[in-house]
Subunit: 321 residues, 4 copies
Amino acid sequence: MKRIGLFGVTGYTGRELRRLLAMHPDIETTFATGSGHLDHELGLEREADAYLLALPHGIAARFADTLRGSWPNAVVIDLSGDLRLPSAESYRTWYGTEHAAPALLGHVPYGLTEINRKQLGGAKLISNPGCYATSVLLPSLPLLREQLVSPNGIIVDSKSGASGAGRAAREALLFCEVDEDLKAYSPGHQHRHVGEIEAVVQQHAGCEISLTFCPHLLPVKRGILSSLYFRSETPPEQLVAALRSTYAGEPFVRIVEKPPRLQDVVYTNECHISVHAGASGNVIVFSALDNLVKGAAGQAIQNLNLALGLPEKSGLPVSLG
Amino acid sequence: MKRIGLFGVTGYTGRELRRLLAMHPDIETTFATGSGHLDHELGLEREADAYLLALPHGIAARFADTLRGSWPNAVVIDLSGDLRLPSAESYRTWYGTEHAAPALLGHVPYGLTEINRKQLGGAKLISNPGCYATSVLLPSLPLLREQLVSPNGIIVDSKSGASGAGRAAREALLFCEVDEDLKAYSPGHQHRHVGEIEAVVQQHAGCEISLTFCPHLLPVKRGILSSLYFRSETPPEQLVAALRSTYAGEPFVRIVEKPPRLQDVVYTNECHISVHAGASGNVIVFSALDNLVKGAAGQAIQNLNLALGLPEKSGLPVSLG
Amino acid sequence: MKRIGLFGVTGYTGRELRRLLAMHPDIETTFATGSGHLDHELGLEREADAYLLALPHGIAARFADTLRGSWPNAVVIDLSGDLRLPSAESYRTWYGTEHAAPALLGHVPYGLTEINRKQLGGAKLISNPGCYATSVLLPSLPLLREQLVSPNGIIVDSKSGASGAGRAAREALLFCEVDEDLKAYSPGHQHRHVGEIEAVVQQHAGCEISLTFCPHLLPVKRGILSSLYFRSETPPEQLVAALRSTYAGEPFVRIVEKPPRLQDVVYTNECHISVHAGASGNVIVFSALDNLVKGAAGQAIQNLNLALGLPEKSGLPVSLG
Amino acid sequence: MKRIGLFGVTGYTGRELRRLLAMHPDIETTFATGSGHLDHELGLEREADAYLLALPHGIAARFADTLRGSWPNAVVIDLSGDLRLPSAESYRTWYGTEHAAPALLGHVPYGLTEINRKQLGGAKLISNPGCYATSVLLPSLPLLREQLVSPNGIIVDSKSGASGAGRAAREALLFCEVDEDLKAYSPGHQHRHVGEIEAVVQQHAGCEISLTFCPHLLPVKRGILSSLYFRSETPPEQLVAALRSTYAGEPFVRIVEKPPRLQDVVYTNECHISVHAGASGNVIVFSALDNLVKGAAGQAIQNLNLALGLPEKSGLPVSLG
C-alpha cells in the first residue's frame, strides 16, 4: 500500500480526490488536510510516498517547492494551474501576478496522461492539466499533429458544470443564479486555459494555433462538453481514423459515433470524443468528460499510478460502454 | 376586444399562448382546443378575428388553408414549420414529406417582427419563425446585410431548453435522461432550422451563407442561448454600432455589453445580443431568448398585434433591464 | 396612477416586486433603491402613495417607523418579519434580539388577505405574512376555526425553493450544494415561522396549537409545498366543504382535487389546497404557492391594492386553471 | 470469481446493478439481458452462481420460479415487489392482480440486510426490499420493537428522486414536467409500499401500525428522504441510543446528528438517520438513502454477498463520513 498525503480537502477537487482514493485498492490516505501552514507541518507525521496538492494557485507552487525540498523521494502532483505554463513571463500574463517558485517552470512534465505517458512514469513532480485544457487537448492534439485540421480559426465552445468554478461563496454561484440559466463568461481569448492550451499544443503538436475559446457555466454539477470547430478539408472519417489510432488501447479515451453525453462520462475517468461533418470546409469534434475526474482528481490518480509504478487503471472508474 | 381562436393547446407552445393571452388586455380567447377534426368544427362558434395554430407540422398547413377559405377576413398565424420554407421542393428536402398546401408557399410573410414589420401590418396569414432561427437571425441579419461579417464559415453553437423538444412522451426527454446532462444533436448541416435560416438570410440579407449549426439539449425548461462565430476583420465596436442602429427603439431587442444570460430573458419577449472579440479574424456574437416566448408564442402575439392593428407591445412581458 | 417607492431591491423579493409592479396597470414605481441611509433620504423626491419594504428584519422596523412619521398619509407595507409577532417579548424569543420599534407591535394588521381583508382596506401600515406561514395558515385557519381538526399534534412538513433562503452568498446555498440535494433544517419547533403561525392561529382561530414544523430546502428556485397532517375524525369531504365555503369567490385560493403541484402555482399569486384521507384518525392537507408571489411580493401587492382602494386583483397573475 | 446473471438491464435499477457489479472485485457478470423469453433461454450458457432479477413485477415471480426449478443450487434475488408480501391475498389487494407463483410467498427471506441478516446467509431465494420501505423500516423497526414510539398515528412524508418512478416514457416523467416541480402522489394509505411496510413491521417488530404515507416526486435523479413523525413521550436521546445500539458496527447505517442530506448518501450504499424533538409528544426521525443503491441494486449486492459467502461490504461504495 502506498501512503498518500492530501493538501486541500475543502474544495470540490479535494473532496473528489478523497472519494476516489477511498476506493483505490493500492493506496491509503495517510493524511488529508486543508491548506494550513505548510512549514510547521512537514514533520515526520507528514511523510508519504506521494503528495497531492488541491490548493489554490499561488499557494500550490510554494507547497510543491517545499515538499520537494523536504521529501525528495516523494512524488508531488499539483492540481492547480501553477506549474502548467512554460515560463514566469507566461504566468504573469495569464495570472496577473508573479510566480512563487519560477525555477520549477519549464521542467515539470505535463500530466495529460495519454499524450505524455513516457515522461510521467517515475516522475517526481507532475503538473496536472486543467479540466478545460484536457477536454480540448485530447481531441485536438492528434488532429493538429498530423495536420488534418488547420491551426487557424479554431473555435471552441465549452460548457462546464458549476463545480468547475469552485466552492467559494460567491453570489454568481448561488443555486438561484445558476439553476435554469446558461451564460458564457470570459469569451474570446481571455481565459487562463487558453494560455495552457496554446503552450501544450506548441510543445506537443509543434504548431501555433489561433483559438477562440468560449466557456459557459452550465446548470449541472459535473461535466464538461466541448464543441470544437476546425477548418479542414479532410473527410471526417480520416479524422476518426487518426483519433482511433492515437487512442487505440487507451482505457480512458473512447472515440464514439454519436455526439457524447455528459451522462455517459460523469463519475468516470473517461473522455468520449466524436467527429462530425460541418458545412463545407468545417468539421465538428465533441469531447465530454467529468471535470472533477478526468479533468482533475481522476487524471491526477492516473498520473500518480504511473509515477508510483502502480497499474495505470487502478482505482479509476470507467463507464458501462 | 379582439376574439382569438387557438388550435393546439396541449403542447408547451399552446400552453404558453394561453398563458400570455390570459394577460393580454385587448384580446379574449374565444376558444382553445386540441387539434381535433377541423372540417366539422368550422361552424359559427369558431368565428374569430384571428386564429393561432400551435399544431404539428403537416397538420398546420391544412388548417391554415381551410381557415383562410372559410374565414377570409380573419388573421391566421401558423407557429409550425409548415410555412417557413420558400418552396415545396425545399420543404421536401428538409421535412422528408410532401407539403399539404403547396400553393401557400412563397407568399406568406415571415414573422420575424423586427426585420419584416412592413409586411406584417394587416397581413392575413403569417408564418411564425422557429425558435432557433429567431435566435440566429436577429443577430445575423444586420451584420450580413451590411457585409460586416463573412457569409462563409459561420459557426452557430446553440443550446436549447427541453421545452423546445415538445411534450411527446419520449424516453430521451425523461427527467432522468435530461437532468445533469448535455448533448448535441443533429450536428452540422442536418437540422431543419438550417433550411429556414438559409432561406431567410437569402431573402433578407441577399447572400448565401455557409453555416455549421449545432443544437444542444440543455437541462433547463426554457431558453435558447446561441453562440455565433463569424469570420470578420471588422472591429467589434462597429458590429455593435450596426446592431444598435438596426434595433434602436425596438422594445424587444436589446444590445447588451456582457454575455447575455437565459435568466434575463426567460418569461419575457426579449432577445438580448452581445458582441465580443475572438482570436484574430474572428468575432463572437451571443443571443439569448425564451424559446416559448420570443421564439414562439410571444412573437406570435407580437405579430398578431400588428396584424390586428393593436399596439405591438400589448400584453407582452419585458425584462427588468 | 399610484406612486410607489420600493426599499430593498437587491434581494429576490425586491426583484420580484419590481417584476410584478412593472406589469401593474394602476401603479408606477417612483423609486426603487437598496436599503441605503433612510434618514438623509426622506426628502420630497421620496414622496409616494405607498412604500414597500423588502428589507432585512431589524432594519425594516426602523424604516416603517420613520416613514410613518414623515409621510403619515402614505401606506407602508413591511415584507420582513419585524411586524408579524404580537409583542416585543415574542420577538425577542424568536429573533434573539430586541425589536427596533416595539410601539408598533400589536397594532399592525396582518396581511393574510383572504382572512383579514376587513382590516386591510384603508390600512396605513400592514405586516406582510411570511411565505411558510401563508402556506400553513390558508389551509389551517378555516379547519381550526370550525374545530374540524384537532389543534394538537399537528405535523407540517414544508418544502421550499432556494429563493426563500435569500440571496446572501453562503456556501450552503451554492448551486453545487443545493442541486440534486434535499435536506431538512431547523426541524421541530425552532423555526421563526412557528411563532408567527401560532400567534396568528390564536388571534384568528381562537385556539392554541401544538405544531411540529419541518422546513426542507428544495432544489428548485421557487415554490413552497406544505404537507399538513391533522388528527381528525371528520370525513375529508367535510373539510373540503369548509375550505370551499371559506374561499368561495376568492380569486387566488383554489381547492383542488389532486395533490397540488408547484408548477401550477409558480409565477402566479395563487394558493392551491387539497384534502386527502390518511390512515384512520388522520387527514392530509396539501398547499402549494409561489414563495416569492403569494408568499411575498404578490400578496404585498394584493394588500397594497386593498389599502389604496384599487381592485384587489389588479396586476396579479393567475394560473391557467 | 462468482458468476452472476442479470435479467432486466434496460431500466434504471438494471443499469445500476451493471454499474456496481463492474466495480465488484469478487464477481463477474456472465450475462446481462433484457427480460426476453425465459423458457427458451435457460440453456447452459445461462448457468451462473446467482441471478439478479430487475424485472417488472408479475414477470419477476415467473422468472424466480423457473430459475429455482432449473438451477436449484443458484441464488436468486428478486428486486421487484413480487415476493415482498406475505400472501397471495395481500398481493391481490395491493397489486390488483393474481400472483404468478403464489407457492413462493411466505417462505422467502426479506432482504433488509441489517434486520434479517441471519436468514440471508446461504439463502437461495431473497426478496429485495422496496426503496421506500427500506427508508422507512431501517429507522422504524428498532423504535417500534422496543416500544419507544407509538404504533399509532405514524406519519411518513417521503420524497423520492425521479429514477424511483422507472424509465417508462410517460408524460408525467418528462423533464419539463418534473424539473422545478414537486408534488405528492398516492397520498394516505394507497401506495403499495404501505402493504410492504405493514407486513414487515408485523413480522419483525411484532405490532400493527397505523401509517399515513405520502410519497412525493422530487426534481432530482436519485435519493429518498423520508421524514417520519412518531407519537412518543420518550426523550429523543433514548431513541438515538436505541438506534445506535441496533446499528453499532453496521457499515452502511449511520446515526447522524444533523438532518441527513441526499448529497451525503447518493452513489453510496448507506442509510443516514437522525432524530429530533418535535412539539410536545412528537418526535421526528429522518432517513436518507440512494433509492438505486441501498434502496435497490446496492442492497441486492449486499444480500448477494451474504448468500454467496462473500464479505458483506465487497464492492459497495460508502460515503466520506
